[in-house]
Subunit: 347 residues, 2 copies
DNA sequence: TTGAAAGCGCTAACAG
DNA sequence: CTGTTAGCGCTTTCAA
């Protein structure tokens, strides 16, 4: 009778803790404890159970254990975009530490949409994940959903695109400083009319890089106005970018995100704008191709992998000691300017 | 008394179906059915319950419903690599259809490791996901784990890097043809000694692109030997690539994956090999930067987003009618060569 | 060192 | 149309 039960289980491929218990003539709780390496089970019994489990590829039902233990051994990662070298590398960093901890990583894409970010965070509230790592969507300019999330005390760490006004654990780069130094670098190389090219600018969202840009200009008594800002909303804005470049005779440009390198290089080629002779170019970007572009591109490359690692480590710290309501800290990772041909001094 | 129970629930932020039931003085099953929009509940009751649920941001516990219904409303996606434009776009395609279907997407990275792929698939067997979308790791050259997976009857669709020897639902590009045509293109442009640059070659893994390459050479009575194959295992092989290029005087090269474009361009620059005059270059690759490289790069760009969509649609078809054990089909998506400067005729 | 039993939140018979 | 109830597979007291 027991035999036939087991056969049925294997046929249905539904091997559970009970299958093992029956097969080995022990109780389910013994099996459970053995599988969780509890100290109250004898080595002998453990070995027997583990051997059986391994043989039949037992793997616990995550929904059952999640329901019972209120722990999912899963963290949720919300990013605005894949297809972006920076976020890709961050994910790798996160993965590498999650794996060591035996956690699963659930990746969600907000696609820069506030609406979607909202939905995702809402679902997290029901306990699908033990902790959250999030970088905000560009569209996000209101933060009630974030506050609601934090109220639920789900361990959360923000990285890169963070809600400045909210007190929370955050991991960022020294964006203000980088924006400032990037601009200073262009100025040092002789630029006097510098554009700042950004992607889908939102007035409401604080932009440290841009602040740094503005400060550098002002410090050097260079005028800053809306003219210096080129806001690239989508591929249609290629013409607007083209016009801006031909109208204003910029001699330097800071590209704030890697997606905009291609259109900028394309337009310069088309308009026969010589980089760096006529226009010096510097970009925040992470792809290795920067080193083989013509001219090679001066970049600010973030420690993306490290940011993933740091964020994840910080999150696990919170998950592991939830009562530690210490003052939330903001970790700042440094990144550096890598000078290449596109900002070489020519005049 | 009821009041205080509710207060407690809201304090603990644990709003469940029972909270709602008590608050509204109905039974849990009524609530459950109402939330699932069952026809057996009156509109009036539904409205009442939905209103309450919305007000208090109720969101069902995925572990409870997963356990009970044996459905997780989640699909698992296994890819070998992020930071690769192709897979990034595939993910977007998958996401877009999963979202429409109300499914979650669990993304796993195998990092090209067989070991990791094995672990991931093993965990899927316990029912964490309702279906699986997978592209194999480069290291994978044995397929028992795949067969075991398929035996469990978990709906699975393979894409791009597929197990050729196994009968299953697959979505691919016309790789053999593309390898063939890519090579033919180089030959037409005048190349007579063509290299094939690939990433971590495994003899055991069938490689349709390479087969196409070989066929094109043989058809043209050009000799094919191991010399034509440059196997790039890791960044250290940069020197090997350099040597191969300077020793063998290739006049054409097929790059089989986008990661290798940067090293190739870098080395050509360093060795002052003129593209396309001395060496014509063509790459399988998906990044937009191909259009601004110098010279612009002839590419074979896959319909990556569409591949994600197609795979997902195909998977949901299987999930929705599991008993449909029809003959598994292989969908072939076409992609085209986009000719640019790097393969222009010069001699 | 082991086992019995309760119950996590939800769904789905089945009964009313 | 609504309610009662029995589990899903697992963990975790508590008792033996």
């Amino acid at each position: 009778m027991i035999k036939s039960f087991l056969e049925e289980q294997h046929l249905k491929n539904t091997i559970t803790i009970q299958t093992i218990a029956k097969a080995l003539q022990v109780s389910v709780s013994t099996v459970s404890k053995a599988l969780n390496d509890s100290h109250e089970i004898s080595q002998e019994t453990k070995d027997k159970i583990l051997a059986y489990a391994r043989e039949y590829d037992y793997s616990p039902n995550p929904y059952a254990s999640g329901l019972r233990s209120k722990k999912s051994k899963t963290i949720g990662v919300v990013i605005p975009e894949v297809g972006n070298s920076f976020f890709a590398a961050v994910i790798k960093g996160i993965e590498s530490v999650a794996r060591k901890k035996g956690y699963h990583v659930l990746i969600y894409l907000s696609n820069e949409s506030f609406e979607k970010e909202l939905m995702i965070l809402n679902e997290f509230q029901a306990g699908r994940v033990d902790g959250i790592l999030i970088s905000l969507a560009l569209e996000t300019d209101t933060f009630e959903h974030i506050e609601k999330l934090l109220e639920k005390n789900i361990p959360t760490v923000f990285f890169d695109r963070i809600p400045h006004a909210i007190e929370a654990t955050k991991v960022v780069t020294n964006d203000f400083e980088l924006g400032y130094r990037a601009t200073k670098h262009l100025i040092q190389q002789g630029c006097r009319k510098i554009a700042y090219l950004l992607y889908r600018h939102h007035q409401a969202m604080s932009n440290q890089r841009l602040e740094g840009f503005i400060k550098a200009l002002e410090e050097t008594a260079l005028p800053f106005s809306e003219e210096n800002l080129i806001d690239y909303q989508n591929a249609n804005d290629k013409n607007r970018l083209k016009n801006a470049l031909s109208l204003h005779a910029f001699d330097g440009i800071v590209i704030s995100t890697e997606e905009l390198v291609t259109p900028l290089y394309a337009i310069c080629k088309q308009l026969k704008i010589n980089i760096p002779a006529q226009l010096k170019v510097l970009s925040f970007c992470d792809f290795p191709l920067a080193t083989v572009l013509t001219p090679t591109l001066t970049t600010i490359k973030h420690p993306a992998f490290q940011m993933g690692e740091t964020s994840a480590i910080s999150l696990f710290k919170k998950i592991e000691k939830p009562r530690q309501n210490t003052h939330p800290e903001t970790l700042v990772l440094a990144s550096e300017i890598i000078e290449r041909e596109s900002t070489e001094r020519t005049f």
